[in-house]
């Protein structure tokens, strides 16, 4: 079902708290859905039974509205503005500090992040696919980022199958959802009376076995499969193919870039919510007494000015070149870097764009019908 070799267990609805309690017992800070600024965000649960029910959100280009699930489910919402990204790739953190010692010599010291063990409950298939891409970037052989690595190894990921994709979701088209298939410690699929649960790691298997679940029966497993198929079929957006590299790179002078630039604010919201974007800037924060300084890494975006700044000139001075950089990196040159597209179909850049620019619509306009479907 979740392509796990492990047999699936069944966690009755009224036993969900036992899973959270077990994770808390193991010392995990448990993050689950919560509402902030009228959006679903991941925040620390204060009690094992603290997971909210009935949360849902309607999504459209530039629009996200909280609603209530008539079936009162735990995970009937698709996604919120952030995936796992902030938990592994911190929006702002110190990399190292330097201090002047008594002899006037500069002493450099690495800053080791204080990463708590965190369990994230409610991770989606698209989020896991995105995390795999972030791993490919930050944990590359020989270029392992110690800050990312430290946070990453502390994560325990409880994925859930999406039964109700947002109108902005198109993971079926990118092949990354809506049913989690890899990258989780535990995966759950919500049915009316409980959860079909499988483990995807030794950590996950240990937690699952401690819960002493009965095996999920064939009907339950089948219901999950059907639920996944229905969720995929319910998606209305798509990309015209999974390899758009040549289609986009051969249209670098297409008039559509000018057209979208007239609507785009170059605000960088799309890159900030995109779970695969990894760009950052590094800045220094000298102490006021002039004796020490911290070197910080902060999220950056190709929509910002300094991102394209080279000595003496800017390679992307206007919004047209910045939007083009975003789209062609995500969907074209990402293939050269990581062997696949950088889009996992989560739809966040569509919902969270303040002016509702829809990447699937832009791609369709740019490529017309001349793209082979793969």
């Amino acid at each position: 079902m979740f392509s796990s070799p492990e047999p699936a267990g069944f966690l009755p609805l009224d036993q969900l708290h036992a899973l959270v309690a077990r994770l808390m017992q193991l010392g995990y800070q448990c993050l689950g859905p919560a509402v902030e600024n009228d959006a679903i965000v991941m925040r620390e649960l204060d009690a094992p039974d603290g997971l909210p029910r009935g949360l849902q959100a309607e999504q459209a280009p530039g629009r996200y509205r909280l609603t209530t699930d008539p079936q009162h489910r735990y995970f009937a919402w698709a996604n919120g503005p952030q995936a796992i990204k902030p938990q592994a790739f911190a929006p702002q953190e110190s990399l190292w500090r330097v201090e002047r010692d008594a002899a006037g010599m500069l002493q450099f010291e690495a800053v080791v992040p204080n990463a708590p063990a965190q369990a994230i409950i409610g991770v989606r298939a698209c989020d896991l696919a995105a995390l795999a891409l972030q791993d490919a970037h930050f944990l590359r052989e020989g270029r392992r980022d110690p800050h990312y690595a430290k946070r990453r190894e502390q994560l325990f990921l409880v994925a859930v199958q999406c039964a109700e994709p947002g109108a902005t979701c198109f993971c079926a088209s990118t092949g990354d959802g809506p049913t989690p298939t890899a990258g989780y410690d535990l995966a759950l699929a919500e049915l009316p009376d409980g959860f079909v649960a499988v483990s995807g790691s030794a950590k996950g298997a240990a937690v699952l076995s401690a819960l002493n679940l009965s095996a999920a029966n064939a009907q339950q497993v089948d219901a999950v499969r059907q639920q996944g198929q229905a969720a995929a079929a319910a998606q209305t957006r798509s990309l015209p193919g999974r390899t758009l590299r040549d289609a986009l790179m051969s249209r670098l002078e297409h008039p559509r870039w000018d057209e979208v630039a007239s609507r785009c604010l170059a605000c960088g919201n799309c890159t900030a919510v995109c779970p695969t974007c990894f760009c950052h800037a590094e800045i220094d924060g000298p102490a006021l007494d002039g004796e020490a300084s911290r070197h910080e890494r902060i999220w950056d975006s190709c929509f910002g000015e300094s991102h394209g700044h080279l000595h003496g000139f800017n390679v992307r001075p206007d919004i047209r070149s910045r939007y083009r950089q975003w789209l062609t990196h995500k969907l074209a040159t990402w293939h050269d870097q990581f062997g696949r597209s950088g889009c996992v179909g989560c739809g966040r850049c569509i919902a969270w764009c303040p002016v509702g620019i829809d990447l699937t619509e832009e791609v369709a306009a740019l490529t017309g019908s001349g793209v082979s479907h793969e």
């Binding site: 902030e36 600024n37 009228d38 959006a39 965000v41 530039g62 629009r63 996200y64 509205r65 909280l66 919120g80 503005p81 952030q82 902030p86 929006p91 702002q92 002047r100 006037g104 010599m105 500069l106 007239s262 609507r263 785009c264 604010l265 170059a266 605000c267 960088g268 919201n269 900030a272 919510v273 800045i283 924060g285 000298p286 006021l288 007494d289 002039g290 902060i298 999220w299 950056d300 975006s301 910002g304 000015e305 300094s306 206007d318 919004i319 910045r322 919902a351 969270w352 303040p354 002016v355 509702g356």
Partner: protein
């Protein structure tokens, strides 16, 4: 690596006030302990709000708060420029003309007589203008008021002999780093963050309300696209004009945005 200690000769610093509310000077004063640390590294020769008074002396760095709004301001800014090594304009008044710039273009005798019981006591120029309209400005710090930490960072950079970091990115970048869900998207509120310069740490969105542009225009501010969005969120043309015509009404990018909407809605 061995680097020399900071120059023992302390740079002389002045903080001048023009037409303004004193809020930016207060941002300095509110730095508390940090201000004391800083005071140990510079010689604060003129800062009326804090005590020292010596407006005419030569300084290495002059911070200027306020806009040029009176005939006296016109002369004084020239004098200060001549006696200052570096001149740094701080706050919306000094960088764009400030809230008092709202009178630009509508200031007339009638208006003054209607409002003030002693119009003869009003000695304002017709227009309120930023410091850069009159003298060369070496660095501008936007905001109403400026942020204390940003001001410290500028002084610190100057003391270390490096060019201060000029961050003209949008407020949205700070909003996202802090993880605030966008209220344009969740509530349809007309937020100025996408055209406004960063620096405040997305203060208003942190409180669930809209940015109102007090840090002035960001680089590549697509005011036209934002105005279209505000209209589709239900704002009238007048309301959209008002979004651009508040604290930094005279910043050229915001002024042009408002003019374009006015012209369009009169078509």
């Amino acid at each position: 690596m061995n680097t020399p200690k900071a120059d023992p000769i302390k740079p002389r610093v002045a903080v001048h006030k023009f037409s303004s509310c004193d809020g930016c000077q207060l941002a300095f004063l509110n730095l508390g302990e940090d201000l004391l640390t800083l005071a140990g590294r510079v010689e604060l020769v003129h800062f009326a709000e804090a005590g020292p008074l010596d407006p005419d002396t030569d300084v290495d760095v002059a911070f200027v708060e306020g806009s040029v709004s009176t005939a006296e301001d016109l002369e004084r800014i020239q004098h200060i420029r001549q006696h200052s090594g570096l001149l740094i304009a701080i706050g919306a008044c000094a960088t764009s003309g400030g809230i008092q710039g709202l009178r630009n273009g509508v200031f007339g005798e009638n208006w003054v007589t209607q409002i003030y019981s002693h119009p003869e006591a009003i000695a304002s120029l017709e227009r309120s203008t930023p410091i850069s309209s009159h003298v060369k400005v070496d660095f501008e710090l936007w905001g109403c008021p400026v942020s204390g930490p940003q001001m410290l960072a500028v002084v610190n950079s100057l003391l270390l002999g490096v060019t201060p970091r000029d961050n003209a990115d949008k407020v949205c970048t700070e909003c996202k780093r802090r993880g605030y869900p966008c209220i344009m998207v969740t509530r349809g509120i007309a937020c100025m963050g996408p055209v406004t310069r960063a620096g405040c740490g997305a203060l208003c969105p942190s409180l669930g309300r809209d940015c109102y542009g007090c840090y002035g225009p960001a680089e590549n501010a697509n005011t036209g696209a934002l105005a279209v969005q505000f209209r589709s969120q239900g704002l009238s043309p007048e309301a959209v004009v008002q979004r651009f015509q508040s604290i930094n009404s005279q910043a050229p990018v915001f002024l042009a945005a408002a003019d374009r909407i006015r012209i369009k809605s009169h078509d």
